[in-house]
Each structure stands twice: as structure tokens, then as C-alpha cells.
């Protein structure tokens, strides 16, 4: 294996590290030079060292397997990092803060006066037909007016270099623990690089998360009891729940550890008896949160939790109902929200999208299925999509039928050829497509992770980066190229 960038194929692609013709991009200069010097054999040795570190550190994710139930797999990390220049990142960061502000104003508006709809910016049916709109949240005023305290927005870059927001995850976005652990592993693997280049640190996130959560406590003046609520050990993101609880020094609780008493306060069962809980960072979907309000067959949640939340006796992050803005049809309105609530133009662009709910756009989509991506509005994890160019006639016919029957449930977008990053594949370094998930914390202040989690599609040509579908990950470096 050789680390030879002049023969690295970038034709028709935008590579994050290697420019056209094999030159390195400014933020990647030190990294590529270092890799060349290291040579192929040594890079492979470092990759093995990283994999051993990951196994020893127990960095895992859980996949559901039909025969074996849930299996704990070692987290897949490719050691070649993805770099972004600090200057470009500053613009993206501003764009994300703007976006999170508008989304929170929108959600608060939707559960209060619905000005956005009354002023004709969006049809009301979209809200009433949204699977994640919670009627039980109407009129609730959560602390600071914030609903989506933690937002994970997926960014992609097209081959012309434009960065787009692909979607906003406002329910229980995951991945931040892997971002932090990837950095730990890469520091072990490439210590020399961190000594000599200006790579911005990422490890401040847990303390920022804790401060944000603590600021939501209803009992002012007392040390707030903040807990992380997990569905349990078999959840695919359990590693992360446990990781964040550990990093914040909080209890990691399950629904069965909590109870709501007759004064509508939340308590947890401790070794010294029942003890009051102030803030819950919940990693359970709305549906399972409270069997009194939502699904009554849920054994993961806490009966009465919604009562406690509505009375303001406990803070929930993210707030129930925040997922209303997670809908991919609502997503198409985000640039309008930014204009409406903030009076600003969106800094980050949306991927151009067709609203199948609108008849003229639907007919355009139906006529061009073979070159579009069709997505369910409430899907996640890359499931249930039609990839037009690689689809069969039968698949397109099936989607056309579904689209006509239920146009509200789909949006369509042009295929974006995601940018690539050099990746170790067997014994070679080849370009593989990536996206980026930064996390935005909204509380008294808004903050954005330095970079985010870069996910990489490990199969050649594949644009599917989800780890549940064979995707891997990379450390993400925001590099001060001018330093």
C-alpha cells in the first residue's frame, strides 16, 4: 500500500483532503505530508492499533440481528481524519446557531399561537398530520422557551463544494460520544500530529451539556439533580447514554428507577431511599416516555412524567413534542423560518427539496423518479428510501404508488454526490463518501461542537453512511490553517 496522493482518484468528486490534481487542501497539508512520510505499512499498523484500542476501551454500538438478537459490535473508526479549516468552520457554526434558534422559535410558536401558520407561511395541515406533533404539549411553556436543547444536524458537501444541511435531528440525536471517543483513539494513534499542528480540542462537550441541563432546573438555588434516562442496555445507543452520564457525573437511570408522586414531582430510587430529580436528559422517544399520555404499553417510561413536566416540576431535554420540526416536510420550511423569526437570510442552505404534498411538485417528482432520492418524512437511519438512479423499475413503480396514495409522507431531493475523504480499504487508500453531524446545544447560550461526528460509507460508491448499515466513522479536525 502506498500513500501517494498524485494517483489518488478525485475526478468527479470533491475530496475534503486532496484537491484536484493531488495537491492538499490547506487544512490537510500537515496531515497528508505526515501520512506520506509514515508510509503505507505503518499506516496499516496504526489502524490495527486503533482497532485494538477501541476493543479495549469497549467502544461499541449495538445492532439488532435477526438470529442473534442484539449484538455489541466494536465501533468502526477509520484512522485517516477529516479536516475542515477553522475559517470555514466559523461560518458553518454561525449557520448552525442561527438554524437552532429559528427551529426553537418555530416549535415554541407551534405549541402556542401558531403565528407562522396564521401568517400564511405554512399550511396548518402539515402540523396536524405530523406524526411527531404532540397535542398534549399545546400551551406548555418550557424553561427559556427552549424545546430542542440538543440538536444534531447532518451536513453534506456536494461535488461543487457547497455545504448543505440534509436534516435536523431534534428528538434524541446520537453520536456525540463517538465523536469524543474517536478523538481519544486518534490521539493515541497519531500523537506526533497533535504536538505539531493546531487541531482544535473537542472534549469540552460534556461539561457544556451539563451546564445547559443544570440551567433548566426548576428548583433555583439548589444543586440540581440531573439524570440521563436510557431505555436500557439493549438500546443501540446505550454506550453513549452511559458515556455521557459518566462524563457528566450524573446518574444513568431507567424508567423503572423513577416514579412520580401525588404532588407531581419526580423521584429516583436510591440506596438511601427516594430522592428528587430536577432535570432529565431523556434518550427515550416521546412515544415511550409516559404510558399515561403516550403509548400505554410502554414499560420503558415513567407513568406521570408528562404531568410533572407540564407543572414545571421537572425539566425534560429535549422537550416532548420537539420532534415536530424533525419532519422532513417541515424541514423544507426552515429557510422561511429563519427569515420569519429572525429576519435573516439562512447562512447554510437546505438541500433543494420537492414537497410531494403539493400537487405540481408531486407530478414533477413522479416524472423524474429515476434521478431523485425519495425519503419518508419521519424516517431515520437511512431506512425506507428510494435511490432513483440505482433503483429498479419495480421499485420505482412501488414508490410511485406509495407517493400517490400518501403524498404528505414523502419529500424528494436530487442525488447529492457527497464529498469524500481518503479511507483505508483492505490494503489501499481510496476515496469514500462522508457526511458530518455536529451537535448544537441551546440553553442560556447556544454552543456548537468543534466539528462533529464524520460518518463514512465504507463500500465503494455508496452514499449510505449509517453505522447500522455498514458505515464507519472518522475523527474530525477543525484545523487553524493560519496558525
Amino acid at each position: 500500500m502506498k500513500a501517494n496522493w498524485s494517483t489518488y482518484p478525485t475526478a468527479g468528486l470533491h475530496d475534503e483532503l486532496v484537491g484536484p490534481g493531488g495537491g492538499s487542501r490547506a487544512a490537510a497539508r500537515a496531515l497528508l505530508g505526515y501520512l506520506t512520510e509514515l508510509g503505507g505499512t505503518e499506516i496499516a499498523v496504526r489502524q490495527q492499533a486503533a482497532e485494538m484500542a477501541i476493543r479495549a476501551m469497549g467502544i461499541t454500538f449495538t445492532v439488532y440481528h435477526e438470529q442473534d438478537g442484539s449484538i455489541d459490535r466494536a465501533w468502526p473508526l477509520d484512522i485517516i481524519p477529516r479536516t475542515i479549516s477553522r475559517k470555514e468552520w466559523q461560518r458553518i457554526e454561525k449557520g448552525l446557531i442561527q438554524r437552532a434558534a429559528a427551529l426553537n422559535l418555530f416549535i415554541d410558536d407551534i405549541y402556542q399561537k401558531q403565528r407562522f401558520i396564521r401568517d400564511g407561511r405554512m399550511p396548518g395541515e402539515i402540523i396536524h398530520t405530523s406524526r411527531n406533533f404532540r397535542a398534549s404539549c399545546v400551551g406548555v411553556k418550557p424553561p427559556l422557551g427552549t424545546w430542542a436543547h440538543i440538536c444534531g444536524s447532518d451536513l453534506i458537501r456536494d461535488r461543487d463544494g457547497t455545504v448543505y444541511v440534509l436534516e435536523d435531528n431534534l428528538r434524541v440525536p446520537s453520536g456525540v460520544s463517538y465523536m469524543l471517543e474517536n478523538r481519544q483513539v486518534i490521539k493515541r494513534v497519531f500523537p506526533e500530529l497533535f504536538e505539531n499542528s493546531a487541531i482544535l480540542p473537542v472534549d469540552d462537550y460534556p461539561s457544556q451539556l451539563f451546564d445547559m441541563l443544570a440551567a433548566l432546573s426548576p428548583r433555583k438555588g439548589e444543586t440540581p439533580e440531573v439524570v440521563v434516562l436510557t431505555p436500557g442496555i439493549y438500546n443501540s445507543a446505550y454506550f453513549e447514554h452511559s458515556y455521557l452520564a459518566r462524563q457528566m457525573g450524573c446518574e444513568l437511570v431507567e424508567g423503572r428507577d423513577l416514579a412520580v408522586d401525588s404532588s407531581d414531582c419526580v423521584f429516583m430510587q436510591t440506596v438511601d431511599g427516594w430522592s428528587r430529580v430536577d432535570v432529565i436528559y431523556r434518550r427515550i422517544d416521546d412515544d415511550f416516555l409516559d404510558p399515561e399520555t403516550f403509548r400505554d404499553d410502554s414499560t420503558l417510561g415513567v407513568p406521570g412524567l408528562m404531568r410533572a413536566w407540564k407543572k414545571g416540576n421537572v425539566a425534560l431535554a429535549n422537550a416532548p413534542g420537539a420532534g415536530v420540526a424533525d419532519d422532513k416536510l417541515v424541514y423544507t420550511y426552515v429557510p422561511d423560518m429563519i427569515k420569519y423569526y429572525l429576519g435573516e437570510d439562512a447562512i447554510l442552505e437546505n438541500v433543494p427539496s420537492f414537497r410531494c404534498a403539493e400537487p405540481d411538485q408531486l407530478s414533477h417528482v413522479l416524472a423524474n423518479l429515476h434521478e431523485l432520492v425519495v425519503k419518508p418524512v419521519d424516517g431515520s437511519g437511512g431506512y425506507g428510501m428510494l435511490m432513483g438512479p440505482s433503483s429498479s423499475k419495480a421499485e420505482r413503480a412501488q414508490f410511485a404508488k406509495a407517493l400517490k396514495a400518501n403524498p404528505r409522507s414523502f419529500v424528494a431531493q436530487p442525488v447529492i454526490t457527497l464529498s469524500t475523504v481518503p479511507t483505508l480499504v483492505d490494503d489501499a487508500i481510496e476515496p469514500r463518501h462522508v457526511d458530518l453531524r455536529p451537535f448544537i446545544l441551546s440553553g442560556p447560550q447556544t454552543s456548537v461542537t468543534t466539528g462533529g461526528l464524520t460518518r463514512v460509507a465504507l463500500r465503494r460508491g455508496s452514499l449510505v453512511v449509517n453505522s447500522s448499515q455498514g458505515g464507519g466513522s472518522k475523527d474530525t479536525w477543525i484545523v487553524d490553517a493560519e496558525a
Binding site: M57, G58, V253, E254, D261, Q269, D272
Partner: protein, 332 residues
């Protein structure tokens, strides 16, 4: 500290101790057999009795059991809940839910050791490599305990780590004494007397007690001294009485430990009263039977007060202080 979490710490600790004991008794038995003439050698089945799973074992091995069957049953059988395999697996499963509590080094060691063990199990148990393999199990588990002792804050989770370890130890020591002393019966004739000493030495060795015993008791290895040492010594960490002292010490650090401390006093009085010298085999067996029931009751007492209650509906107002009494009423 969550009730569910301390329960998991408690079980983590018990399973680690159980795994260590399983590895230990296999090695000691192998050594013992090398020292004994065929006619009086107790063979391997007594180990299954110590494990307390004779019925399951007999169902699986209807024909006369060989060494290989017993070693497999005790070390590698996934269906035997007391096997080394199961104990290690359960220790890791409990640890997995405790990532935010356990020192990272301890978790990493246990996790790494668990996968190494699973990988090497089948080759490791071959007769040639078995001694080294099982010794490594004991050594690694002791190392992990050392990391836990050296790096965990002395808070409620550490308390339950020590409670689990000592209750498991007391239970295992009493089992080994019970089963081993029962086998030693046929050796009570003059020409077999030398072998009796060897066997009591093996009992001590299976608990790593031989050297400490020699330091404390400076005479020939005798039944009554061994019983006294393993059951009632207050300085040797695997002696039952020592373990109970540790349990008491830890319980006193808990706000609601009093009822169990009271029970513990009763257990210690019961132990102190036993006339070990006068007890014949049947009497000893009956004594240990009752001792084990007592140990089990201590476990139940701890579980009742500190572990999560399965039913938490119908809770009335839970104030934040002075609720411990109401709390225990709610439980049942």
C-alpha cells in the same frame, strides 16, 4: 446512588468472586489427585457438589463422569449458571451497565479479559495448558479487584462491591469445607493418616489459605484446626468470620443497614457457639447447612432494604427526608 446500580455492583462483585473460586478449585483438585493413591482419591465429582449443581450435571452425563466432563461443566458450560464461563459472562454483563460507575481501567481490563477468555477457552482447557490458563483467570480477576480497591471512591457503590465479595466468599468457603470434609471420611484409618494431612492441605490451598494457616497455627495440619481457621479466623480474608466482620463494617456505613447488622450479630453468635471439635461429620454438615441459610438470609435482608422494588405504583407523596420507614413499608 441508584438502588438498581448498587444491586448490579453487588452482583458484579459476586460473579467475579465466583469465577475466581471456580478456577481455583479445579486447579487444586488436579494437584490433589496427583498426590493420592487411586483407591482413596475422591475424583472429580465432589467439585460438582461444591458448585451445587449435581442434578443438572447428572442429567447431562448419565454415564460415569470423567475428569473432562467435570472440568467442562465447571469451566465452560454455558447452561451451568455457576460455571466459570457463566460467572464471567454475568460479571461482564453487570459491568456493562455500570460503565459510569466503574473506573475505566477496571472496565477495560474486565472487558478485554472476557473476550480473551472466550477466545482461548477451548484450547486453554486442554490438559497441557489448563493449569496456566486457570491460574491466569485467578490472577487477572485479582488484578481487577486490586484496581477497584485502588481507584474506587469509598461510596455506596464500593460498599456493595465489598458486600457482594464477602458474602460470596463466606458462602464458597463454607461449601468447600462442607464437601471436602465429607469426602475425607474414608481416610480415617491409621495407614491412610498421612494422606489425610495432604487432603486437608488441599482444602487450605483451594482457598489460598495454606501459608496463612501455617503462620497462624504452628502444628501438624489437623481437621479441627483447619475448621477453626477457615470458619472462625478473624484475620484471614477468606475465613467465614472475617467475611462477616467485613459485611458488618460496610453495613454500618449505610443509613438503613441496621436490621441486617442485627441479623449479622445473631449469625456470629451462632458461629461462635458451635463446638467444632466435638462435631462429627453429620453434625458439621448440619452446622454448615444452617450457616449457609444464614448467609442467604443476610443476602435477602440486603436485597429487601437496598435493591429496587419491583412494584412502585401507588406511591403517595415522597418527601425528601425521613422517608426510609415509609419507603420500606411501600415495598411489600
Amino acid at each position: 446512588m441508584l438502588a438498581r446500580v448498587v444491586e448490579n455492583v453487588y452482583w458484579l462483585s459476586r460473579y467475579m468472586e465466583r469465577a475466581e473460586n471456580a478456577a481455583r478449585i479445579i486447579n487444586v483438585n488436579a494437584h490433589l489427585l496427583l498426590d493420592l493413591p487411586k483407591g482413596i482419591a475422591p475424583g472429580w465429582l465432589p467439585l460438582v457438589d461444591i458448585n451445587g449443581n449435581r442434578a443438572e450435571f447428572d442429567a447431562k452425563h448419565p454415564k460415569a463422569a470423567e475428569e473432562r466432563d467435570v472440568v467442562h461443566f465447571l469451566a465452560a458450560d454455558r447452561e451451568n449458571p455457576g460455571s466459570l464461563y457463566s460467572s464471567l459472562h454475568m460479571a461482564r454483563e453487570n459491568a456493562r451497565t455500570l460503565r459510569e460507575i466503574l473506573p475505566t481501567e477496571a472496565w477495560e481490563m474486565l472487558n478485554e479479559f472476557h473476550s480473551e477468555f472466550m477466545r482461548e477457552l477451548s484450547t486453554g482447557l486442554a490438559k497441557r495448558s489448563r493449569f496456566r490458563f486457570l491460574n491466569e483467570v485467578v490472577g487477572t480477576l485479582q488484578k481487577i479487584s486490586g484496581v477497584l480497591d485502588g481507584t474506587m471512591s469509598r461510596n455506596a457503590s464500593y460498599t456493595f462491591l465489598i458486600l457482594g465479595r464477602n458474602l460470596e466468599r463466606a458462602d464458597m468457603t463454607s461449601r468447600i469445607v462442607d464437601v471436602r470434609s465429607a469426602q475425607l471420611l474414608p481416610a480415617e484409618t491409621p495407614e491412610l493418616r498421612p494422606f489425610e494431612t495432604v487432603q486437608w492441605m488441599s482444602v487450605l490451598k483451594s482457598l489460598s489459605a495454606y501459608q496463612m494457616y501455617r503462620g497462624a497455627v504452628r502444628s501438624r495440619v489437623r481437621r479441627v484446626d483447619v475448621l477453626e481457621f477457615l470458619l472462625r479466623n478473624r484475620q484471614f480474608p477468606r475465613a467465614c468470620m472475617f467475611c462477616l466482620d467485613q459485611v458488618e463494617h460496610e453495613l454500618k456505613s449505610l443509613q438503613r443497614g441496621e436490621p441486617v447488622v442485627d441479623r449479622l450479630d445473631a449469625v456470629r453468635r451462632f458461629m461462635a457457639r458451635a463446638p467444632l471439635e466435638a462435631l462429627d461429620q453429620a453434625g458439621l454438615h448440619a452446622f454448615i447447612d444452617r450457616l449457609q441459610l444464614h448467609i442467604n438470609e443476610l443476602h435477602n435482608g440486603i436485597a429487601r432494604i437496598f435493591f429496587p422494588k419491583p412494584q412502585i405504583s401507588g406511591i403517595q407523596q415522597l418527601s425528601e427526608s425521613g422517608q426510609s420507614q415509609r419507603q420500606s413499608r411501600l415495598a411489600f
